[in-house]
């Protein structure tokens, strides 16, 4: 009987040790995860520089758009077409000055939730509303429907650029949505980076790339108005 009781005792302590270990692991893992997603990022000069860069591009686009005058225009494209493109570019500028980016620009402390909102605004305002709704025509121009050899020649480049804008923040989106799971901090990719800071710079670089694309189209637009591509 003693042997039986000893055996039960050993088994019991082994079980308790197992639960103790698991509970300890889960508690520490959760505590780490709690602290990890609480990490804020304090805005500095570099952050302001990024916003300034985008704002400068927007100013340049606005200048390019204002060059068009339907009464004096005598280029390859029809005036109506040029007016539509001008309106597309104007909408893009408005979308770039969306509420989310305006509010984040004034923030001193940026949290992971702000990064998530910024990424959502990139997807909705910039990619969907600006690139897809207003500038997607740049990928479908042909000799038959568009009389501008410059855009037709550069179409493969434009398509590649838009594709990169579409996929660039998808990894970040997955990462941010999964931040409710404690598996989040066991993934190597999350472990080696500051989620808020790196996530912020990732979205801002996409914003910057999208702004560059709109600027590129607006440069072509200004050139078309001035008769450079004739």
């Amino acid at each position: 009987m003693d042997f039986f009781k000893q055996y039960i005792k050993i088994m019991n302590y082994a079980l308790m040790g197992l639960v103790f270990g698991f509970a300890f692991f889960y508690l520490l893992s959760n505590a780490y995860h709690y602290l990890e997603i609480r990490k804020d990022f304090y805005a500095d000069d570099n952050t302001q520089l990024l916003f300034n860069k985008i704002n400068e591009k927007m100013d340049h686009i606005t200048q390019n758009i204002s060059k068009f005058n339907s009464t004096t225009y005598s280029g390859n494209l029809s005036s109506n077409r040029m007016l539509a493109i001008q309106s597309n570019l104007q909408t893009c500028v408005q979308k770039f000055n969306n509420e989310t980016i305006q509010s984040i620009q004034d923030m001193k402390k940026i949290s992971i939730i702000d990064v998530y909102r910024l990424r959502e605004s990139y997807e909705n305002d910039i990619f969907n509303d600006c690139i897809v709704y207003n500038l997607h025509w740049t990928t479908t121009v042909t000799k038959e429907n568009f009389n501008s050899s410059y855009l037709i020649q550069n179409q493969p480049l434009i398509q590649l650029y838009i594709e990169s804008l579409r996929t660039e923040t998808s990894y970040l989106k997955k990462d941010l949505i999964n931040n409710s799971s404690y598996f989040y901090n066991t993934s190597a990719a999350s472990f080696i980076k500051h989620n808020t800071k790196d996530g912020f710079y990732e979205v801002m670089s996409s914003y910057n790339k999208a702004a560059s694309f709109v600027e590129y189209i607006s440069d072509w637009f200004a050139g078309e108005v001035e008769g450079i591509y004739d």
Partner: protein, 148 residues
Amino acid sequence: MIKIINIILSFLKMIMLLVCFVFSFFIIVNMYQRLDKNIGDSIYNFIPFVLLFILFAINFVLRQKSVNQCLFYNITCCLVFAFILFAVYRTFMDQNMIAIIRLGYHINFNYFADIIAPMRAMLYILCLSNVLLMIDGIDFSKKVENGE
């Protein structure tokens, strides 16, 4: 000293078990409601709580020293409940988890769903340990002597 710690931990584990049960019940029932699932199916999640409560009550009423005075068991119980309570706190209060915004609820079901399986496993093992400690506490030698 150990005796006093054990008494404190024995009461603490009882209170913590009740608090854990109440909050887990609230979260899981809401979770099932949100998914339009039959709430009756959620009962499996509460069985280990009820079992453990019955066992604690038996330990308390019968004053079983083998369980009540086992420091390792008491600490392990409190650690498990501390983990569950921390998870409950985060389910309601941690506003840095994106799912709480995306789902639009004030309870982060997405996070708590990850906790249910380990929570059940640990509670079942605690039940088993409790029973084994009870068996360990039975003095078979006396009964053998009485039988002779």
